[in-house]
C-alpha cells in the first residue's frame, strides 16, 4: 500500500492523479480462513483490524452482503462521546473516543475526527441532578466532563435560546473532547488498513447459513459458496437476530428504525455538538454547513430503513424552540437505519452458545462512537477468549440480572 502523505499529493498532482491505487482489493473468497467476520461495517472492520494489529491474526475474511460501510456506519449522525454513567460503558466508549484521537495517524487515512466539544442540555431540574451525578461518575472513571452553567452554554452556542418558555436551558453536561468524525472514512480507513494486512474484504456476499460440528463452528455458507473458518464473528447490527438464528441461538434484541436528517447548507453557526434529551433531538453542523439532526426511534419493530414521519416532526418541533434560527431552514435529506435494541440498551460483545462463534451487536442508537473500542474489545475476545473491556457485556447478563442499565442512566438519545 502506498502511504497517503503530502508528498503523495504533490507527486500525483504532477501526473494527473493517475497513480492512486485502489484503497482495498476486491478478492474472490478463499475456501478457508482462520477467522471470518460477518459484516463489513465499522464494527466488523475494526474487529478485523485489531485482530491483525494487536494479535497478528491476518488470515481473516470480512464478508458483507451489501457494500462496505453501507449500513448504519453510513447512516448515523457521526457523534462521538463517552459521558456515560455506568463504569463498563464509560470504559469502552472512552477507549473508543481515545482511539479516535489518533485514528487518522494510525490508519494513515483522514477520518476527520473533530473533537469540537459536546453539550448535553439539562432542561428540567431532574436532568440537572442526573447530569451532576454523571459528572461525578465520569470524574471517578477518568472521563473528562464538566457541568457548565447556562451563561457558558450561551457562550459556546450563540444561536441557542436558553430561556425558552417550555424547556429553558438550566445548564449542560460538557465533554470538551467529544465531537464528530467522518463516518464513511472510518469504514474506508479500516478497510484499507485491513486489506493492506492481507485480509480479504468480500462485498456482495450474503451469509445464508452457519456450519457447525459438535457444537463448534466450522464455517459459513454464503451466496458465493461455503467458507470454512476456525472462529466466526457476527457483527451485523440490524440483522443480528437473523444471523444468530442461523447459528442456532436467540438474542435479546429487537430491530427498530432510527431516523436522521440534514438541512440545506448554511454558513458556520455552531461549532459544538448539542444534544437535548428532554425534547429528544440533537444537532451539529457538518463541514459542508448542513445542520445534521437526529431524533428518536420508532416504538415498533421495523426492518424497512424507513421511519415514521411524526418522529421527524417531533424532533424538529422541539429543536426549533431551542434553536429559533433553524425555523426557516429547508431539510434536504432524511433517512433511516435499523438498529438493534437490547433490554438494557447496552451492547452485547459476547461468546455464544455455539463454540468459537462470537457476537457483537445491540449497539442500539449509539454504535458509531464506539467503533474503535468495540473492535478492540471484540478482537481481544476472539483472540484470547477474554477481554476486560467486553467482560460485562456478555449476553448471559440478561439471565443473571447484571444489567448495564444505560436506558435509565442516559435517558434517551443514547
Amino acid at each position: 500500500m502506498k502511504r497517503y502523505s503530502v508528498f503523495a499529493i504533490a507527486r500525483e498532482a504532477l501526473r494527473y492523479h493517475e497513480g492512486w491505487e485502489r484503497a482495498w482489493r476486491a478478492p474472490q473468497p478463499k475456501s478457508a480462513y482462520d477467522v471470518v467476520i460477518v459484516g463489513a461495517g465499522g464494527h466488523g472492520l475494526a474487529t478485523a483490524y485489531y485482530l491483525g494489529k494487536n494479535f497478528g491474526i491476518t488470515n481473516v475474511a470480512v464478508i458483507e452482503k451489501g457494500w462496505l460501510g453501507g449500513g448504519n456506519t453510513g447512516r448515523n449522525t457521526t457523534i462521538i462521546r463517552s459521558n456515560y454513567l455506568q463504569d463498563p460503558s464509560a470504559a469502552i466508549y472512552e477507549k473508543a473516543r481515545s482511539l479516535y484521537e489518533t485514528l487518522s495517524q494510525d490508519l494513515n487515512y483522514n477520518v476527520m475526527f473533530s473533537p469540537r466539544g459536546l453539550l448535553m442540555l439539562a432542561q428540567t431540574h431532574h436532568e440537572v441532578r442526573g447530569y451532576l451525578r454523571t459528572v461525578h461518575a465520569n470524574t471517578l472513571q477518568g472521563v473528562a466532563t464538566e457541568w457548565i452553567e447556562p451563561a457558558k452554554v450561551k457562550e459556546l452556542v450563540p444561536i441557542i435560546n436558553i430561556d425558552g418558555p417550555r424547556y429553558p436551558v438550566l445548564g449542560a453536561l460538557y465533554q470538551a473532547r467529544g465531537g464528530t468524525a467522518r463516518h464513511d472514512a472510518v469504514a474506508w480507513g479500516y478497510a484499507r488498513a485491513c486489506s493492506d494486512m492481507g485480509m480479504d474484504i468480500i462485498q456482495q456476499c450474503e451469509v445464508t447459513g452457519v456450519r457447525s460440528e459438535g457444537g463448534q463452528v466450522t464455517g459459513v455458507e454464503t451466496t458465493r459458496g461455503a467458507i470454512a473458518c476456525k472462529k466466526l464473528g457476527i457483527v451485523v447490527a440490524g440483522h443480528s437476530g437473523q444471523v444468530a438464528e442461523m447459528a442456532g441461538f436467540r438474542l435479546p434484541v429487537e430491530a427498530v428504525a432510527l431516523q436522521a436528517l440534514v438541512s440545506e447548507p448554511i454558513k458556520p453557526c455552531m461549532d459544538v455538538v448539542v444534544m437535548a434529551n428532554t425534547v429528544h433531538g440533537y444537532m451539529s453542523q457538518s463541514d459542508k454547513g448542513e445542520m445534521v439532526i437526529g431524533g428518536g426511534t420508532d416504538g415498533f419493530n421495523n426492518f424497512t430503513q424507513r421511519g415514521s414521519f411524526q418522529h421527524i416532526e417531533e424532533t424538529l418541533r422541539a429543536l426549533i424552540e431551542t434553536f429559533p434560527i433553524i425555523s426557516r431552514l429547508k431539510m434536504l435529506r432524511q433517512w433511516g437505519g435499523i438498529v438493534d435494541m437490547t433490554g438494557d440498551r447496552s451492547p452485547i460483545i459476547s461468546k455464544t452458545p455455539l463454540g468459537n462463534c462470537f457476537i457483537n451487536c445491540g449497539w442500539g442508537t449509539g454504535g458509531f462512537k464506539a467503533i474503535p473500542g468495540s473492535g478492540w474489545a471484540m478482537a481481544e475476545l476472539m483472540a484470547k477468549g477474554h477481554s476486560p473491556l467486553a467482560a460485562d457485556f456478555g449476553m448471559e447478563r440478561f439471565r443473571e440480572g447484571r444489567f448495564i442499565d444505560e436506558s435509565v442512566a442516559a435517558g434517551v438519545a443514547h
Binding site: P252, A255, G299, F300, N301, T304, R306, S308, Q310, G343
Partner: protein, 107 residues
C-alpha cells in the same frame, strides 16, 4: 404512516393516536419458574423479519389494548383483534397465509 383499525371502537387510527406495546402473546413466568423461562419472558423476543404479532393501545381513542398482525419487512398490516385472544384468530392466520405462502405460520 401506520394505520390500524381498533377492534373495539372500529376507528381507523393512525400512528400518532396509538401507543406500541411490544410483542403479543408473551407467556408470563413469575415466582417458581426457571431462569430460562424468566429470561425468555423478560428479554427473549421473536423479532422476525416478516409477519409479527404485536400489542398496541388506542391511546388517544378508546384507550383499550388490542393486538395487531403486521409485516416488519414491508409495514403491511394484516389485521387487528381483541387483546383477550390467547392466539391469533384462525381467519387472520388464513388471510396471512394467503398473502405470504412461504410463511411458516404462528409459533
Amino acid at each position: 404512516m401506520l394505520t390500524l383499525t381498533c377492534p373495539y371502537c372500529g376507528v381507523k387510527a393512525e400512528e400518532t393516536e396509538l401507543a406500541p406495546g411490544g410483542e403479543a402473546h408473551l407467556k408470563r413466568f413469575g415466582p417458581g419458574s426457571t431462569d430460562d423461562e424468566y429470561e425468555s419472558y423478560m428479554f427473549a423476543r421473536k423479532n422476525p423479519k416478516g409477519v409479527h404479532f404485536e400489542r398496541w393501545r388506542h391511546a388517544y381513542g378508546c384507550g383499550k389494548w388490542f393486538l395487531a398482525a403486521r409485516c416488519t419487512a414491508t409495514l403491511e398490516v394484516f389485521g387487528t383483534y381483541p387483546a383477550q385472544s390467547k392466539e391469533p384468530p384462525a381467519e387472520l392466520i388464513a388471510a396471512i397465509k394467503a398473502k405470504r405462502p412461504g410463511w411458516e405460520g404462528y409459533k
